[in-house]
């Protein structure tokens, strides 16, 4: 399984407006960045070069992992997508 191909095997109805928003400044000062390895959909990437955290909500599985592992409260918004948007499991 290649996580880069997540859109090939899990369905999403992507909302334009992200349901999770973070303050990337908080991430710069984080000593852990557990979100980058813990997120099962690899939505968080940290660039050492740019010293910048990038979050993309498109492939978010709405699992809740980042909400729990972030110990710096980097989120300015963490809610579930609007009704009808986000991940749509067919079988699992």
């Amino acid at each position: 399984m290649n996580i880069d191909e997540i859109f090939d095997f899990t369905s999403f109805t992507i909302d334009r407006e992200p349901h999770i928003v973070l303050d990337p400044q908080v991430c710069v000062g984080c000593d852990n960045r557990g979100c980058t390895n813990s997120c099962p959909a690899r939505c968080y990437t940290w660039s050492e070069e740019e010293q910048k955290m990038t979050f993309v909500h498109d492939g978010c599985l709405e699992c809740g992992t980042c909400y729990i592992v972030c110990h710096r409260n980097a989120f300015t918004r963490w809610r579930y997508p609007r009704g009808g948007f986000g991940v749509a499991y067919r079988m699992t």
Binding site: I6, G34, G83
Partner: protein, 432 residues
């Protein structure tokens, strides 16, 4: 536009639909609010619907009508390392007849079915509705507002069955504002397509029999475990990690899942299959010690939202607890309507009911199990110990054999240390 109901249930999962069904059958006008386009769309789990005695009572012989996959007739546990595995298995004809001890199910289908039963009883299902906030009037809960919609849904009482992160319970001030990563786990799962006959032959199954296997030692040293369950024509295979441990490991769930599926003995089991769907969700694994406040004025909390999950390491139970708690919450709301009193004092009867039921008694009885699962040696050293010991016992190599008790002692000393082994055994004894 606002609409008035007698009760609102947030979340059409097993807890919410069970609550809505119970209340609707008693004649209450119930709104069952779900953020997915249909119930179950957002839901995944580790794979087993354990026996649901409370659903058997409200929907007798539900297994004839519910969209279930195989019933679990065979259960196994595998201790494994990168190269070796030691497997124990249990099977009995008692689990091969109704009422079955458990099933595999697909959540989008099962959760939809249970919500349909609530609708048949008269509940109103409102889909594509993410609850944004609780609405208060005169200092009391009076309903909920929906994200992106104007107006609100009104009722004098709300059941928060909105899952593990329960923002509804948080807004009511009933759950802790910040979770402890040490009490939470994340499960990741791959659904693997496989012809039914191949599954039957590979796992030794006939008719509708299913097989469920747990794995220890497959998580790259991260606290957690693996599972493999058979559906009719697919396998559910996945890993569960404790978040406190995963966070600091630097390892990723998908890389570990790939490594698990590539371990030689597991690779043989999934060979010939094709990945169909990948899913993930957080699980409240802290047990009794992490249960939030269960009631407030005009609100009750049920299911995962109330952390009613029993993860002892032997069975991972959730839906059965969720459903039972939903039914008890529903019954309490029916009583509250009879008295026209939705104060926390009246609703506290829900907590009393739960305390008297197997749900709380199990969680209380196994309250030390989550602590036991924090012994890191379980995930590396012990599986290695078991596999190495068995290899020494079975190995024939032209050298004199060590007696088995001596071998055990030597291996324990070498791999874990005698003191650790005794302390871990005591912890496990107390926990289980």
């Amino acid at each position: 536009m606002s609409k008035q109901y007698q009760a609102i249930v947030v979340g059409a999962g097993p807890a919410g639909s069970s609550a809505a069904l119970t209340m609707a059958r008693a004649g209450l006008d119930v709104a069952l609010v779900e953020r997915g386009t249909f119930p179950g769309e957002k839901n995944m789990f580790g794979g087993i619907l354990h026996r649901m005695t409370s659903i058997e009572e409200v929907l007798p012989e539900f297994w004839h009508n519910a969209p279930l996959e195989r019933h679990i007739a065979k259960k196994g546990t595998t201790f494994m390392t990168g190269e070796a595995s030691f497997h124990v298995q249990h099977e009995t004809v008692n689990f091969d007849r109704a009422p079955y001890n458990g099933y595999t199910v697909f959540r989008p289908r099962f959760d939809s079915w249970l919500a349909d039963e609530a609708i048949k009883a008269g509940a109103t299902l409102i889909t594509r509705a993410t609850v944004d906030d609780l609405v208060h009037k005169n200092g009391r809960i009076a309903g909920v507002s929906i994200l992106g919609r104007t107006g609100q849904i009104e009722a004098p009482v709300v059941i928060a069955a909105d899952g593990v992160l329960s923002f509804t319970a948080k807004k009511a001030g009933l759950r802790q504002p910040k979770f402890d990563a040490g009490q939470m786990a994340v499960g990741v799962k791959a659904l693997i397509d496989m012809p039914r006959e191949m599954i039957d032959d590979r796992f030794g199954l006939v008719r509708d029999q299913g097989f469920a296997n747990e794995f220890v030692g497959c998580t790259g040293g991260v606290r957690g475990g693996g599972f493999l369950y058979t559906n009719y024509d697919s396998l559910s295979i996945g890993l569960v990690f404790h978040l406190g441990s995963l966070r600091t490991s630097g390892k990723t769930p998908y890389d570990l899942l790939n490594a698990f599926m590539e371990q030689p003995q597991v690779a043989k089991l999934v060979r010939g299959g094709r990945l169909q769907e990948y899913s993930a969700h957080v699980i409240p694994e802290g047990g009794y010690k992490m249960i939030p406040e269960l009631v407030g004025n005009g609100i009750l909390v049920a299911g995962d939202a109330a952390a009613l999950c029993n993860a002892t390491g032997v069975n991972l139970e959730g839906i059965n607890l969720a459903s039972h708690s939903g039914i008890l919450a529903g019954r309490t709301v029916i009583e509250a309507h009879e008295r026209n009193d939705f104060s926390a004092k009246t609703l506290r009867r829900y907590k009393e009911r739960l305390d008297l039921s197997w749900v709380m008694q199990d969680l209380k009885g196994f309250r030390n199990a989550p602590g036991m699962l924090h012994i890191d040696r379980i995930y590396n050293e012990y599986p290695e110990l078991v596999c190495s010991m068995m290899e020494h016992i079975y190995r024939i190599d032209g050298t004199p054999k060590t007696s088995i008790p001596k071998l055990i002692l030597r291996e324990v000393k070498e791999k874990v240390g005698l003191k650790n082994a005794i302390s871990d055994a005591l912890t496990a004894w107390r926990a289980l």
